[in-house]
Amino acid sequence: MTTLTYADVLASYEPVIGLETHVELGTKSKMFCGCSTTFGAEPNTQVCPVCLGLPGALPVANEKAIESTIRIGLALNCSIATWCRFARKNYFYPDMPKNFQTSQYDEPLCVDGYLDVEYDGTTYRVGIERVHLEEDTGKNTHVGTSGRIHGADYSLVDYNRAGIPLVEIVTKPVPGTGALAPEIARAYVTELRDILRTLGVSDVRMEQGSLRCDVNTSLNKPGAEWGTRTETKNVNSLRSVERAVRSEILRQAGVLDAGDRVLQETRHFSETTGDTRPGRSKEEATDYRYFPEPDLVPVAPDPDWVEKLRADLPEVPAARRERLVEELGVSAEDMVQMSNAGVVELVGATAAAGAPVGEARNWWLGYLAQKANEAEIDAAELAIRPEQVARLITLVADGTLSTALARQAVEGVLETGQGVDEVIASRGLKRVSDTGALEQAADDAIAANPDIAEKVRGGKLPAVGALVGAVMKATRGQADAAAVRTILLEKLGASE
């Protein structure tokens, strides 16, 4: 089989994507009991008879979780059910204390909405099939040489997470994205995450698992019926969403081109390899034997309450962006760029902390985007806060730091988690403004690089960069590069 390029594939196939997103709500207590939901507690310390599924224990639904789910539904333009029930999803798994999950089946709280996603200035409307409420499971740790479920010797279960309210947001199939399917998928999750954050219903930390994605992908020939879809699980960063869709498109195209059929199956995304692997095929088709949860009574949201929740919704990110275009005075083009990079909120927050919008934009689209990219994380996940970035911008503006020093300060903050001023103090990041020292360093650089000096003297001005570099190195980056350049050019009798 020849290796297909992504462009090849998209010339002959059209992808259809769909996303199922699970969001852990940030309620104080669990879905059906009063246990804490705090992340990272000692194992099995946040459990009670209810969330441990002890014989006799009974659930009572958390009002705040219902409210949050309705608010999510409203923000996603859904209809809110006037009457709905929880259902039991029956299957055996050790992370589920009752061996059924209390979820919703054919009567979800919210249905039939949409989310407009912008990418490169174009708006894509992603249909929302349903938003429903369920409970999270506990956590299994697999013990053995592999550290994974396959080949593990045994597993250990911690039920602290069991019973945390979990909202599942399911899109309708999204056709018509063409080659941009991976980017649209990512943009959707980004937009959804920003909405959830704006609503204040979840801390939406993908790295802690409070926002998790399953990605459905299928391919079809133009004009043909939609193809068989696969469901890729374990897609737990924005970058992975994009990679998973791209990799699954390539894989399915390979299968189809070879004349084979795509199997309807669950696949797992590997962060390491960037591709998807099939799940172990099940011995028997799963039959969840859903039925209405008899231990709970129906939820019938009062229409007045729903309308009040609707009226009190915060400004959604799309509207906020529109407002920012005006308020911050950024261009529509800049906004697209910032939006694609997922840094609109970050730029806004940096500007709000006192930095000029242009500088904030440059940092977040430039050096900080680069650091995020290197770490293979999202800019929002960088361990630096917008206020800290604003502080750096101020320090550069008042001449305390050079740009190069400010970048070193960023490194320090990311590495140590210390504050900006602490990093500057501990690393001695001070601009060298002693002209005598700079002159000496410039003379040394010229003496050490006679060939380059000659070129500059001969009018090849760009060659001076190498000498600037040498001086910067000698001063450990604490000099102002522009000033160094001026000194060198003067000494070499060249001018711009």
Binding site: A152, D158, R280, P292, A300
Partner: protein, 105 residues
Amino acid sequence: MSDPRSERRISRDEVAHLARLARLAVTDDELDLFAGQLDVILGAVARVSEVAAADIAPTTHAVPLSNVLRADELTPCLPRERVLAGAPSVEDDKFRVPRILSEEV
């Protein structure tokens, strides 16, 4: 072998399937016994279909209630030693289970 006297509602294989779904490692003897008994019981309970109920709403509880909700407030959790006290096997304050074959759902 099918029973010539009546139409069977459930086969021995289906009973074996149900036992697997329900995580019951039934023996062959039990399969024989249960297949016959389940067939009789299902034959008896299938009588519910004699009632025309197309336009009848289901009843789940005697006195219909709705919106029974609790405020989002913390209540005390169990002490961990009580949580783990009844467990067949514990390691590192977690419940220890044998290796898992099936995929996470």
